[in-house]
């Protein structure tokens, strides 16, 4: 990313309006994932260990719902920001992350991650062999925890995609 692109990104972050909450149902509708396409992934002990490694803490639960339609996957995942959970909606296709939305932000600070200019950095991201995102994500001053949570959830969704789609 060039300096000009970075400056444009920063200016976008400050110019973006603040959004309200998006319901899970609206998110699925927006990305054309039929609610009836819901499936479940039961986490095996190995998968639970891998998820724990990604999140730096155990996942709350052992079953994850996802929506699958025409090769696309949708997840609705929660992760703690600084103190409260942030709800993310993630859509994946064969090329990685298609879109990532913040459905509910409950913290008092750090909601700059909702801005499209920031979220676009995740679009097209895939997992490297080392388990990291293959795209650089610029941080936001004052939203460090929120950015960290979003990166964790992006990695988690990509890991789950691998687990669901592996032969």
């Amino acid at each position: 990313m060039t300096i000009i692109q970075r400056l444009l990104l920063v200016s976008c972050l400050f110019s973006m309006p603040s959004y309200g909450q998006v319901s899970s149902a609206d998110f699925l509708k927006q990305y054309q994932l039929p609610q009836s396409s819901v499936k479940t992934l039961w986490l095996s002990p190995e998968q639970q260990a891998a998820v724990k490694e990604i999140l730096s803490h155990p996942y709350a639960g052992i079953r994850i719902r996802y929506w699958q339609d025409q090769g696309r996957l949708g997840f609705i995942l929660n992760e703690i920001g600084k103190e409260l959970p942030i709800t993310f909606g993630i859509v994946l296709n064969s090329k990685g992350i298609e879109s990532m939305e913040v459905l509910a932000f409950r913290e008092s600070r750090g909601d700059e991650i909702k801005a499209l200019g920031f979220r676009q950095q995740f679009f097209g991201a895939q997992l490297t062999h080392g388990g990291d995102l293959n795209q650089n994500i610029d941080g936001i001053s004052g939203a460090t925890y929120s950015v960290r949570s979003m990166k964790k959830v992006a990695k988690l969704a990509l890991y789950l995609q691998q687990q669901i789609q592996q032969p």
């Binding site: 149902a25 609705i76 709800t87």
Partner: protein
Amino acid sequence: MFKRKLRFFLHRWHRRLGLTAAVIVVLVSITGLMLNHTGQLELAKQYPQSNLWLWPYPAEANLGLKVEDNVIYQAGDAVYLNKQPLLNCEPPLINAAQLNEQLWILCKQQILLLANGQLIESIDSQLLGNDITNLSHANGSLLFLQGNTWFGFDDISMMLTQAMPAPKNISTPQVLENHLQTNHTISWQKVVLDLHSGRFFGEIGVYIVDAAAVILLLLSLSGFWIWFSRLK
């Protein structure tokens, strides 16, 4: 002559005031050290349970439900099952129902599913539709109230099914008995901070700590005066 008298006077009162303030200074110093290392000591994440530390704080009633052998209640944002924290769940806790091995808990916008005490998953209640206001069960089926109508629920597709007759006995959260009360809101950080400021002992405690601070100020001034008058 006057200076000598003043020095004796200050000497005597320097010791008396020093002794008087010592107790408060010890308390403020220890609590100050603890507050300086709040993160390392994890004071914000731990909660005293003894009345020795909790008597200044009004008891908070935990609203909860008894479902068969389980007690489910909410304290702050967290939902507890038999005193074990499950997950943050936006208040209020609305209802819970046991169906076979599964325990379903409904909060404002979340549904928690447990089996044999283990959390299976947390579901956004809006996925079932807007305006889900209660949960119950009848004839072996889980029911959700949407608007004024009770509906069946298919947990595989996560969709409401056909309208059902209203269940007969719908439980509501109650204030739990004292022996089930557990402190999950007053952290050690708050207790130590209140001890440090004197608020732990009420309004008078604040004035006592103020007085100790003024005494410390006087001690430093009288100490200086005694020290420099000797040099002369």
